[in-house]
């Protein structure tokens, strides 16, 4: 075990290389660039023995991931924002092909206008692609989740690609100390990759030809079952990691001071981390408030949220907006409760376009709800006109 003090991107590169993928196709985009530069550097030092393919677009990056994974090797890539959007078609392809590709996505605002700060609309708009989605709140969680994700994705009961999301700059470019296990420990945790299907000249299958509705539907159903299986496996893998390395970031959600709470805040990513400071301060003020940091948006933690909803009123902060509806987390939280709990749920849109969301802001949001002054759904700190 060593301690590495570095940015989220370099930590992700370290984790990726320690997982020993054979092929990493990638294309640079701010703020993911230092992740791929990190991998390129490990090529130079010899620490990364696989092949780094400098493709000509993110679309091709995901295509090359699909090709490499289908040919039977462990595959990793990273992207952000417009890069992720360009991949969209192939994200569906990878999931339907049941290829356990692991990818980091650095949550960044979508243009126009050009904006490299963080919000989560890039990955939220990929939620129906079949990918498992993690949202991290620290560099340590990035490291641990990258390694764990390979184990999860490659499990026969899952066989779905995994996207590890973390916020632009707040994590991607901020240095934090991170505990790094020894390579041998990682190798023991993450066994050698065994593909569940592959392109093999001794077994000439055709992958992806024309399929009739009745058979296609079976793939969709199996993907859904696999996401359900992931709900059980994510906690198992997290617990195995905790046992081996002593670190734990939660299961599908990370509960923080939820015991006895009559209000529980739900948030993802860096806001989830910042919220811990707010919860501590509000608890000191005597508010019975806790935090449930949502770590996986897919599979969605319906059961966990229902349990919390039976205990407390819920406050949801979304750093994304499904235009024409509301924050994605807010919608899905309410759907989890529907017909089973009539607890109150308040939604807040905050931090779009990369606006800061500080612990002070989060405290203001929580107080407003506790004091009964919050609407069902509102934009926090909106500085625009009167509409």
């Amino acid at each position: 075990m060593t301690v590495m003090i570095d940015t989220g991107n370099y930590i992700a590169a370290k984790a990726a290389v320690m997982a020993r993928p054979a092929v990493v196709p990638a294309y640079p985009i701010t703020p993911q660039t230092t992740l791929v530069e990190g991998i390129a550097n490990y090529v130079k030092t010899g620490e990364f023995k696989g092949e780094y393919i400098c493709v000509e677009s993110e679309h091709s990056a995901m295509c090359a991931c699909i090709g490499a994974s289908a040919a039977g090797v462990r595959t990793f890539t990273g992207t952000s924002s417009h890069g992720l959007l360009l991949m969209h078609e192939m994200l569906h392809w990878a999931a339907l092909a049941r290829l356990p590709i692991v990818m980091c996505n650095i949550n960044r605002v979508i243009g126009p206008g050009w904006n490299i700060w963080t919000d989560e609309n890039d990955s939220i708009s990929q939620r129906d692609t079949g990918w498992i989605q993690f949202y991290c709140s620290s560099n340590q969680e990035i490291f641990d989740t990258v390694i764990q994700s390979f184990k999860l994705a490659e499990n026969k009961k899952v066989l779905l690609p995994v996207m590890i999301n973390y916020n632009a700059f707040i994590l991607s470019h901020t240095s934090m100390p991170v505990y790094i296990p020894e390579q041998k420990e990682i190798d023991d945790f993450l066994q050698k990759y065994k593909p569940q299907w592959k392109l093999d000249v001794n077994n000439p299958i055709t992958f992806g030809n024309i399929i009739l509705p009745v058979d296609y539907e079976k793939i969709r159903k199996d993907m859904q079952n696999s996401q359900e299986n992931a709900k059980k496996l994510i906690p198992e893998i997290a617990k195995e990691w905790k046992k081996k390395f002593g670190r734990y970031h939660g299961d599908l959600i990370e509960e923080y001071k939820c015991d006895g709470a009559d209000h529980i805040l739900l948030a993802m990513g860096a806001i989830g981390a910042e919220s811990k400071v707010s919860i501590n301060n509000l608890r000191k003020e005597g508010l019975k408030i806790g935090l449930a940091r949502v770590r996986t948006f897919r599979p969605f933690p319906n059961e966990e949220i229902l349990k919390l909803g039976k205990q407390a009123d819920l406050i949801v902060i979304d750093r994304n907006i499904s235009i024409g509806s509301e924050g994605a987390l807010f919608s899905e939280v309410k759907a989890s409760l529907y017909g089973k709990s009539d607890t109150k749920v308040h939604g807040f849109i905050a931090g779009l376009g990369g606006k800061d969301v500080t612990y002070n802001d989060i405290e203001t949001i929580c107080r407003k709800v506790v004091e009964g002054k919050a609407k069902d759904c509102e934009w926090y700190g909106f500085e625009g006109g009167g509409k």
Partner: protein
């Protein structure tokens, strides 16, 4: 190489979904005769994806990976890297795309794979249209040809993909035609023996797309070459060598036949002949073809 000497081995299995008279299956039979069973094929959206036939069966006896329309070359890059990482660098990776997937939507991924020296063979079977989607115009569709999206005839000339490929200075590129199987076989064999990116384009006259009788596929290919509408050549390390009838046309040992003889047999040019002959547009085609051959002579003689 005489027909007799071409291998008996087949990787295309009869009873596929291909149209009767299909030039793509005709070409693919030769492709696999040349490349053998130690081959993995990457196929984007195109007729070949249909020809594979219906899940859970396939008409291909080599591994095939289907991928999105614009993605054949990028997918192949991934397959090739993964094979090499597993010590299987001797397996031939071949991408097989149509002209739409090559000239248009797939050109970026193709250019990228050529530039980064992916060790694979990219095959474009060129039927000069989006056949699979129901005969729409592509960048390879010739001037004046009817398609469902150029109802009065295409108003632009086709691109010269061969010259675009040559600008990548890859070790091997060639143009062939389904009507000359021995030539196609030899070009494939050569491509297989060379390391790095290889490009092979195969003229593939499509009976339903071009509106000619399905028994005439081979004739249409021969006419394409003899009229100079298509050229057979190889480009090895930037040296271009024309072959077959194309060489004779280039060297002016024979005259190319008038394009009119080729197009009048195709319903897609029917509007140039009925109700009355469109002399202007036919002349435009002939003049344009002359221009191309002038340029070829200047560059390659």
């Amino acid at each position: 190489m005489a027909i007799k000497n071409l291998p008996v081995e087949e990787c295309m299995i009869p009873g596929s979904a291909a149209c009767p008279g299909c030039p793509a299956t005709m070409a693919l039979r030769i492709v696999f005769k040349a490349l053998g069973k130690n081959t993995i094929m990457v196929v984007p959206a195109c007729c070949t994806a249909v020809i594979e036939s219906l899940y859970p069966n396939t008409s291909f006896d080599v591994p095939v990976m289907n991928i999105a329309f614009e993605a054949a070359a990028a997918g192949a890059s991934g397959v090739e890297a993964a094979l090499r990482q597993q010590g299987k660098g001797d397996t031939t990776v071949v991408a097989g795309a149509g002209d739409g997937g090559t000239y248009d939507i797939g050109i970026q991924a193709l250019s990228g794979a050529l530039e980064r020296q992916t060790n694979f063979i990219y095959i474009c079977y060129n039927n000069q249209i989006y056949s699979n989607t129901g005969i729409q115009r592509s960048g390879a569709t010739p001037y004046a040809a009817w398609t469902t999206t150029t109802v009065g005839g295409k108003t632009e000339f086709r691109k010269e993909m061969g010259e675009i490929i040559q600008a990548h200075h890859i070790p091997y590129a060639a143009q062939a035609c389904v009507s000359y199987p021995e030539d196609l076989y030899n070009k494939l064999k050569k491509a297989k023996s060379i390391k790095g990116p290889k490009y092979l384009e195969i003229m593939a006259p499509c009976p339903p797309g071009w509106r000619f009788g399905m028994e005439k596929t081979v004739d249409m290919g021969i006419m394409a070459v003899e009229t100079g509408a298509w050229a057979l050549y190889e480009c090895e390390n930037d040296v271009v060598t024309f072959n077959g009838k194309s060489k004779l046309i280039l060297e002016e040992k024979i005259q190319r036949k008038p394009i009119e003889e080729w197009i009048k047999q195709q319903g897609r040019f029917g509007h140039l002949f009925k109700p009355k002959k469109d002399v202007t547009r036919i002349k435009t085609i002939e003049d344009h073809t002359d221009q191309i051959w002038k340029r070829y002579r200047k560059k390659y003689l």
